[in-house]
Symmetry: D2
Subunit: 337 residues, 4 copies
């Protein structure tokens, strides 16, 4: 930590800061400049709240210099993490496509979905079983039955399953049927849930909150990893900005930024990232061109009658056309789809 | 719902929209203009997802005209809601001040806090018992013991208690010790929690998420009210913007906006709203001047050593000085403190 | 325009709105619903400020249904605009790359730049001659001399020139030396400048302001086109959001959105869009994958010593490697580079 | 400047940074920590672009520690600046109210406005003479004639005049008729205009851009002051956020923040800050409660027929009622209106 004192800070103010840092276990190195005195603090608690020092008299600004995350940082595993699930590698040379409906609605729907997804060449089927919605009167999901039929359909077509866990109580159930546990944007900072996910040995896909910085996303991943679960994927799915034409602003640049800062695989979700079916193909292409390790997308055999997220679900033909384009783009970045 | 067709939309496209709306129970009224055909849909399901129609061919834009919330709207109770707890009225002519430390840290601390708060003339003491923090190594709160000592200290000084509930499982425990259940910004759209809160009969203070619009805050309050719990307070506590000098941008204008749209009392939290102790008094004054029904603020007998949120906790003397200013400002808007 | 009255709006309130609309030349059609009365207004002034009606008593909300722009809209020229300058077509099947230094610094620098740019296969050289900077003591640009040497270097290598015009007084000078006039993000709503640009017959590249919506960008382009200059390119260059790791958030989704709404060519500027050299190649690839008609990028023979924007200028080798990748990606979207 | 090297940065990387800093005139002090090497650079050019170093190999982060502004900083004039114009002091103990129509529309209108403003007890009349609007067909202002009639009306009622200058060419004309030159949000970073304003001796009111940080506003004020014109007022008028209910989010907290960082008077414009007439009084009260040195507001004798900004212009009766409230609130912060 570097504490920059204000021009004209008194000796007493400087001493009070030094005392405060020593109190919390820091070694303090003082550097008296012509304009500003700078205090370097080393070795204190990681959880020390620098804002406290920032509000003390005579302090101009405080900078952490040690990253607040360690396990997720690229330095921890420079070659990058590859998550292996059955015969699928996420974070390897292949860009992994995960697709399917927003919600599991019926056996027939999910059987058709599995065919659409597998025929297109995707490796993972997605589908939500629990859908607590903004309106208390909306469809709330099929629950365990939905998971069962999705698992069966996936197995029939040799697909992996990804599905969202909303609360820590659901972890055992989801773990039984799903190969990857998805954590939604609203739960990115649900620390009780993150702690529970750290204790299991199932791969987790962690979505970025709509108002979360890249650093906050990494801190949440660190929370999971610090519990011992190292199979974490990061997922960009759009942030909230002033632009209203799209539901969110899909932050494509977060993909290379996350890959620079972290060794974890980065997945892109252009369906939630844009909220509009017509924008999913161009943004899926952009994500792969920017280096994404995988895509998570919504597709439905009849989007106009989907029980949820129909507006952002692709038609099957769109997915097929897109897959062809992605194969070409992947080669430009030295990968395959 | 009003569906505006694109210029040049075909008759087949118009008909497909009409059919789709009828399918979901709408009566459709068609108005063929010189440039745009406009379809008015009445009587369908409230939960109908207008985005689905928006993505259909030939559609230019779709507007809901019926508000997605009813129970929270000002029209539902034009005179405004007053929540009575013991001898305190929230939403009445008095501006209610709630203050206390971020976390319950020890019996001594909370006893001193109760004295600071009561002596300043505030009516409610705040303090968190469960603090799942961004770092897994940080102080996680005193739990039930913390609630017990806060209840005792509050009773000794005739104060009400407000404390945060993080998960629906905690509701019974919190209800036992706390007069008001606080829902944090990160839980504003935790629909399982909201549903559970709808079934109890304890007043709830619902904080706005840092990326939530005013409408989304109202929808979350509607979720609680639709379960039968009508004692809901709305709380502005800062939104995330591009400005980084303050931790959040405290959206003072949300106070009169919420009061215009809803009958529910509006509380302001300038501590989280700014993240800086020196900004809490001016923003508290601004909130009361703008018409807030109450304030929720952090104060600590020794903020430099607070276990959490020290940087935004006021010194006791600051609270006292502020209360004097608030009394004058309240008179300007026809109220008292 | 559709005016939705509040539930319970009085007959007098409705009549007052009708009168106000008629006063401004609208034909008004009234539709009395079970809950809301809706007034449709047709034929009034385009410039009518709907916010005035929105603030009148009894009004719930107002929606424009006629787009505030016409000449820029896709409907005006469904097949898309192709701007031809010498042998270069912008908006055609080829993705046009524009590259060069932020500022023209010296003859030697610009000669080397022209070689770097031309050798890489780009068609247009960029470089600023006027650089009014945030610090009054910074390098302010070489002015006309800079334009002269850039023109000469471009001609030697068969390149087009793009350079920024800061004020309407500079238009004649810039028009003499530059093939395309660039309008910076800060001038996107400088209406006096836009009006002057409408009167000339030089292609204009209009950059999106960092806080401008897609609609506002289109309105500014409409301003130019309404003066008679139809050769306008739209340029996405990053918007300001809460994320601070990148200087701006490069809104890749704006590319397909602009192409859907407008017939004008869309250029992407990943250098300003990210502010970091290491992010320029992935974002350039993403932009082409998303369908951009061209790229505007900064490259410098010695970025560490560039007089401005060094941190976001690519090394020449980066540009070369990128061009190879772009050629592959372009084929995926049916284009060439 | 503090340069924090990455963990594991090589000696060659460190040396390259040191050389680069020395090249630009910095004295470099090296501090080799257990984890990070930190380089302190002192004495180089203020205009040095730290982003260049940030992009060099082995660098983790760079922090400026000397503020990029000096003349505007509170340290430069701790007691605060008071701008005296005739018998009005801005920045003194009185909160100065500036009010009037958005545009000067006619002699009759401005005469009535002067009476409304003076009778309410305000000291300054506002009104725009040049209105380059987003639509090329809208009313563009009365020009010099408008300034003449506003000056006459102001003199008749003993008011000061504030009016906006859009381009540097307009400075002489505006200076002739207006006591304060207003710089609009869109021109906050028009450096040619700022430089020209630095050379005159007329007070300037500088509005914050809708996407400008507090620091950027201060840098623009520094630009003016560095030219020798020290009579600068800063004006908060709303920033752009994701919230769309209000036209902008009026950042009340910017008022105390600016006053902490700078000695310049801070004016609040709740009319543009909210865009809605009904929100102007509560936000005007909030601004004064937060410590604003003045208010700039729109009022019109007939807002429903104002040629511009009618929706955010108060009725005369609203202004009168508001002034009474402001007098009470001012006492709470030790001031008068």
């Amino acid at each position: 930590m570097l504490v920059v004192m204000q021009q004209g800070a008194t000796e007493a103010q400087v001493q009070k800061i030094i005392d405060r840092l020593i109190e919390d276990g820091f070694d303090v190195h003082r550097s008296t400049g012509t304009i500003h005195t700078v205090l370097g603090g080393v070795g204190g608690k990681d959880s020390f709240d620098t804002a406290v020092v920032e509000q003390m008299d005579g302090v101009k600004e405080v900078h952490r210099i040690v990253s607040p995350y360690k396990l997720v940082s690229r330095a921890f595993r420079p070659q990058g993490t590859v998550i292996r699930i059955k015969d699928v590698e996420i974070g390897g040379s292949q860009v992994v496509v995960m697709a399917g409906p927003c919600s599991v609605e019926s056996q027939e729907q999910i059987e058709r979905s599995a065919d659409i997804v597998a025929d297109a060449g995707a490796k993972v089927i997605r589908g939500g079983a629990f859908k607590p919605r903004s309106s208390p009167y909306s469809f709330q999901g099929m629950g365990e039955e939905g998971l069962q039929i999705m698992r069966a359909a996936a197995d029939r077509r040799g697909l992996l399953v990804i599905s969202e866990v909303m609360e820590k109580e659901q972890i055992p159930l989801l773990s039984q049927y799903s190969d990857i546990l998805q954590i939604g944007a609203r739960n990115m900072q649900n620390f009780n849930l993150l702690r529970a996910l750290g204790k299991i040995r199932k791969p987790v896909l962690l979505k970025r909150g709509i108002a979360a910085t890249v650093e906050e996303l990494l801190l949440s991943a660190e929370y999971i990893m610090s519990g011992g679960n190292y199979d974490v994927m990061l997922c960009e799915r759009g942030i909230r900005t002033f632009e209203t034409y799209t539901r969110n602003t899909f932050d494509v640049s977060a993909i290379p930024v996350l890959q620079k800062l972290s060794h974890l695989p980065v997945i892109a979700d252009p369906s939630h990232g844009t909220g509009r079916r017509d924008l999913v193909p161009p943004m899926a292409r952009a994500a792969v061109a920017a280096g994404a390790d995988g895509l998570l997308m919504e597709v439905h055999h009849d989007p106009d009658h989907a029980m949820s997220d129909g507006a952002q679900s692709m038609y099957p033909a769109q997915l097929n056309e897109l897959m062809g384009q992605l194969r070409l783009i992947a080669t430009a970045v030295g990968r395959s789809v």
